[in-house]
Structure formats: structure tokens, C-alpha cells
Symmetry: C2
Subunit: 227 residues, 2 copies
């Protein structure tokens, strides 16, 4: 489903170059449940942005469902993102001054879903993360963990084929963390591909495979047996 080959990404700031990713070769099969781990600054979020077509590699190739993403137009990339991928961003990226329910409906708006059905699906998604009583709260009226759960609800509301989640339980206590990871396992059991970025071993335990990054390179890639 996902095939990255010798992918590199370099950021330029004035005359210094930051090699965020170097020579990353990674294949993810449909239905995989993958954890990407590594120290702060090792390139995990950069890798997720490339996988999710939010950014393009400077070197190497990225083939997504058989198509080289460099061949896609901007609007084709946007269309893939909106209809096939659910994102949980490290910073949540909720829309300010907009209630939780509307934030979660947003991907359904892009997908052209009718208002009543959007409302129903978004409400269900928020209930599944324990926020049924916070539908009308705006992000600034929610705790950190509640904002993160709104971001999670938004990522799963379109029932995406590929779920990319960057530190999805970072702001959550252990009870909410377990319940969110159960939710992801369930999506995966239904055939969805799930990629989780995390620095917590507790979270990686839900994964079937763990890829570790260090300084922009893959340093280990282990499939777990009996996971």
C-alpha cells in the first residue's frame, strides 16, 4: 500500500541544512498496524507528513497504492488525503472558535456527506472518545486531553483506509489512552492500515510492527510475533 524508497527530506534555513530524513526505505502492507518510534527530532513527524501526502520527498520515491505521488496534481493529492486518510496531528490542529462537533464534521464536508448524516457520524465519533457531553465546546473551552480526543474523533469519522496518528495519546491519562488504542486496534481489525508515531513503549505494545528512527534514518524494523 505504501512504498518509500530511499526517501530523503532536507530543510534549508539560511545556509544550514537540516537532514530530517535520509535514505528511508519502508513498505507498509494494507492492514498493517505500525508504530514509528525514535528520539525527539529524529524525523517521525516529517515521515508522517510525507506518507500522508502533506509534503514531498527531496530524494527517493514514494509510491502510494501503486501511484508515484510526484505524478499527482495538487488536487489529486488533496483528494487522496480527504477521502482515504485520517490524520491525528501532533499539535491537534483544531479550528479555533469552532465547536467540537463541527471540527469533527469537517472531513465529511469535504467528502460531500449530507448534513444530517454528518451530524450523526460526528456525534458517534465524539461519543466513542468519551466526549458526548462536549459537542458544543470550542477548543479553548476544552482541556488538553479533550482537544486531543476531538482530533482523534475527526481522524476516524470518515472510516479512512489509512489512519496516521502522531502521538495520539500524548495528552491522555492511562484510561483514555487504553480506550483510544482499543479503538485503533478495532479499526485495524476491520482491515484499516494504522500508523502510530509514539515515544511510549506502552503505546507501541498495541502495534504488530515497530520501526525505529534515529537522526532521520531507519535503525530497526521489527515485526512482533504473537502480537
Amino acid at each position: 500500500m505504501i512504498a518509500l524508497r530511499e526517501v530523503g527530506k532536507t530543510f534549508h534555513l539560511g545556509d544550514t541544512a537540516v537532514h530530517a530524513l535520509r535514505d528511508v526505505t519502508l513498505a507498509v502492507r494494507e492492514g498493517d498496524l505500525l508504530a514509528i518510534m525514535g528520539p525527539s527530532g529524529s524525523g517521525k513527524s516529517t515521515l508522517m507528513n510525507i506518507i500522508g501526502c502533506l509534503d514531498l520527498p527531496d530524494h527517493g520515491r514514494y509510491v502510494l497504492e501503486g501511484v508515484d505521488v510526484r505524478r499527482l496534481t495538487e488536487s489529486e493529492q488533496a483528494s487522496i488525503r480527504n477521502r482515504r486518510i485520517g490524520f491525528v496531528f501532533q499539535g491537534f490542529n483544531l479550528i479555533a472558535r469552532t465547536p467540537a462537533l463541527e471540527n469533527v464534521e469537517l472531513p465529511l464536508v469535504y467528502a460531500g456527506v449530507a448534513r444530517r448524516e454528518r451530524r450523526r457520524l460526528a456525534t458517534e465519533a465524539l461519543e466513542s472518545v468519551g466526549l458526548g457531553d462536549r459537542l458544543d465546546h470550542q477548543p479553548s473551552e476544552l482541556s488538553g486531553g479533550q482537544q486531543q480526543r476531538v482530533a482523534i474523533a475527526r481522524a476516524i469519522v470518515t472510516d479512512p483506509a489509512l489512519l496516521l496518528a502522531d502521538e495520539p495519546t500524548g495528552a491522555l491519562d492511562s484510561v483514555s489512552t487504553a480506550s483510544v488504542l482499543e479503538l485503533f486496534s478495532e479499526l485495524n481489525a476491520q482491515g484499516r492500515t494504522v500508523v502510530l508515531i509514539t515515544h511510549e513503549e506502552e503505546v507501541s505494545r498495541y502495534a504488530k510492527r515497530v520501526v525505529r528512527l534515529h537522526d532521520g534514518r531507519v535503525v530497526s524494523d521489527e515485526r512482533r510475533t504473537g502480537a
Copy 2:
């Protein structure tokens, strides 16, 4: 140093009321190293905002260093915050499009510190959190964990009497986490009062005392022996 008595805080949204804090009685001595724990939505950040004079209680009293905060004017509250308290916010709250170094210098600007000395202290603070090579990066050019470390450097740069940190290691790997907590322990050993909000037991282990919140109330308050 800090004395909260039967403090309550209620948020009103339309006609529903959210009781974020109820009847919180808490005293913190100078030099204490306190961890505040509790589930998502239990009132931890709200409590920190009140302790840091960013918000006022609706009920009860808050006496900070012998003064009832309701007697302080807006500018007196601002002055206490700027000169005596260092904050690490759950959302980091860095200034966009502004380099890390300038973000960290900001509290020193308020304190009237001269330019050359500000530059020196801010550089030192950033080096102490491992970001000596990221001084000119803006927040959008930094990883999640790097942004969090900039927020930490900013909180400690004025060497504050009281350090309030909301989930200060949430985005950090275990190596950076340990190094940040060592830094806080060191500040505490020098006599600074440190209050950490966390949902991670690993972090609470550095504390001398653990206060647990649930639904806006204090449900336990334990001093650790031999910590």
C-alpha cells in the same frame, strides 16, 4: 507560599455549567516539589492557571506569598507573573514566526534585562535543554519535542521562585524527559518551588509530594518519604 482555600471555578457555556474545580484546599510551601495528577478533564490546567494568577477563583480564597490575589490590580498580577513565576504551558504557547532565542528572551525583556545579558541567558537556557543548534529556528521549523523544550527554556530563563509546568515532558522521549526532570530537580534543590502537572507516574517519581484531582476535587495528597 501558596494557600488555596475552598477554591472553586465554574465555566459557563450557554446554560450549562462546568464545575472545573470544586472546594480545592491546598497549601504549597516554599521549596516544595509537587506533582498534580488526575484524569483528562479533572481540572489540573485550571488549577495551574489559578495558582499562576492567570485566572481568578469564583469561590474561595487564594493567598500567594501572604497577599490575597483578589486585592491585586491587573498590573500587580502581571508583575508577579513576570518576575516570580515561570510557566510551561500544555500547548507550549510559543510566538509564531519568532526564532527560539527570541521566544526564550521574552521574560527577560519584561524584566528589563539588557540585550547582551538576555542573549547570554537565553542561549544558556536553550543549551541546557539540548537546543543550542536550533536558536534561530521558528516554532514551525521545530519538532514537537523541540517546541516543548523551547517552552521549558523560556520558563527557567529568569530563574523564577515558582515554576509551574503543565505536562512539561509530554512530547519528549525518555532521554529528554529524564534530562528535563533533572533540570527541575536541580532548580528545586536551589530552593525554587516546582509544581508539575502530569499524568505519567514516571514524572511523578521526581516529586516529593503528589496531589491527585478527580472531577475538580482533591482526592489524595501524599508526601513521599525518602524521595
